[in-house]
Symmetry: C2
Subunit: 279 residues, 2 copies
């Protein structure tokens, strides 16, 4: 347990090791995948969905994965006090010599870590801004939760005003894509929509839950569509569904459809109950 | 010294440490920069240029750098046998909690490593292919030698035929940009050109040398322009200037202008003399 209230364990293949080796391709190239998961009473409500996304990403990058039974065992071991918190998993391609050529036989280098829950949701909902940075269009990586995240780092560094909770990102075409660490849904009348992720963005686990619950359409959304929206929400697998209260000049009161979705999520996964709420 | 003939040293700020800490932002997000340098008789011919590029990249990413005197001292220490080889430097933003927000006070996490020279140049010159992967347009990161390199990893994984030395990459618009680990110059008559790097690609140190020597223009280059080229060369700071012998169906004999450039580089930096040649 470090001074930062984080426990972590690092593995090379099935073997636990003390620290990341210097030749880690994750360090050199961001050649890895990650999952950030909410843990409630020692369990991850969306474990299967996280692992499924991980398997899909690894297949896309032709990257070997740890044994899934060991992965689950080690993840659980971090929360064997049945506590609440955040579980982060990084799986990276095993090391090897200098250069981009992957070494297909290298065992994966992976890390599980336990973190505290984030701060509670601001009363009324999130305050957002628009980021200047535009997300590049890269269909070969779109949707995947990979470790090439300099765009998000740059976007998050655009503000340090604690009165702002999150920043919305646009594609190079100018369309809405996501927040720096959340997906976004927009309500017009009774119709939910969310940006399609063919060119950029991450296919979030909570996004999939909201899609299934609302029948939202995946489409191009112009920034102007938020001005006329009846409600906007952000979501991710750690914080669940978060109402948006303000985006620059535009404000929203909590919409019944958002409150209803939040209640439905809390029934499905008690960790997301409002009395457990985190933002 | 590992089994892979690599020496390395890792530092957090000014302090040498044994291995990369698990919370390294370089591992989580590829939040770092790198330089790959040719060393000849214990010295890096383009040290100043590499450090200058590093400083520019760090400024762009608002990332603190190690003390330059210590950096140079530690790099030299890896080659205190006055040997030849490759020096790789990775400087990443210091760790901190989970999440994209950079911690401006965290000291940089950095690694210097020594590697063997790559294999000699194939007689006649390089054999190239076109890669399918298109480089995304991201002006906020273009030119910088940062550690978000999944595009290059994917592109290099497109072939494993040892008869092919390198792959050429196109932008999302279809223009020539670079090879997976080299810049590219194209000769028509007595006019050299090289792709402009406003949207993607890395501003190579050897590229800058070739630009200054040839007065090449930086411009958009369509793939078809290679069919009519009198010569094509790749270059990087490890291998110097490399003539291209074949690109799929098109072949080139060694052009006098390429031979002349190689001789000029060898006079400027004896490590790149033909009898030292590596590819």
């Amino acid at each position: 347990m470090s001074e930062r209230d984080t426990f972590d364990r690092v593995f090379l293949g099935s073997e636990r090791i003390d620290a990341l080796p210097g030749d880690a391709r994750g360090f050199a190239y961001g050649d890895g995948l990650f999952e950030t998961m909410r843990v409630h009473r020692g369990l991850v409500p969306w474990w299967t969905q996280h692992v499924t996304r991980l398997v899909r990403g690894a297949s896309h990058l032709s990257m070997p994965l740890p044994d899934p039974a060991q992965l689950e065992r080690e993840a659980r071991a971090l929360f064997d006090d049945d506590g609440d918190g955040v579980l982060k998993l990084i799986v990276s391609r095993g090391g090897g010599g200098r250069g981009y050529t992957p070494h297909p036989d290298a065992p994966p280098l992976w890390r599980v870590s336990r973190h505290a829950l984030p701060a509670p949701l601001r009363p009324g909902g999130l305050v957002l801004r628009w980021c200047d940075l535009r997300l590049a269009s890269q269909p070969a990586l779109a949707g995947i939760k990979h470790c090439n995240r300099l765009e998000q780092v740059l976007a998050r560094a655009e503000w340090n005003d604690p009165a702002i909770d999150e920043g919305l990102l646009r594609s190079s075409d100018g369309d809405l894509v996501c927040a720096t660490a959340a997906n976004v849904f927009v309500l017009h009348g009774d119709r939910w929509s969310t940006p399609s992720l063919e060119d950029c963005g991450v296919a979030g686990v909570c996004r999939a839950w909201v899609l299934a619950e609302t029948g939202a359409i995946e489409t191009r959304i112009a920034p102007e569509a938020l001005q006329t929206a009846d409600a906007v929400l952000l979501c991710n697998a750690v914080r669940g569904i978060l109402p948006v209260a303000r985006l620059e000049g535009r404000t929203w009161a909590l919409h019944p459809a958002v409150a209803d979705l939040r209640a439905r999520l809390a029934r499905a996964h008690p960790g997301f109950a409002v009395d457990q709420e985190v933002a």
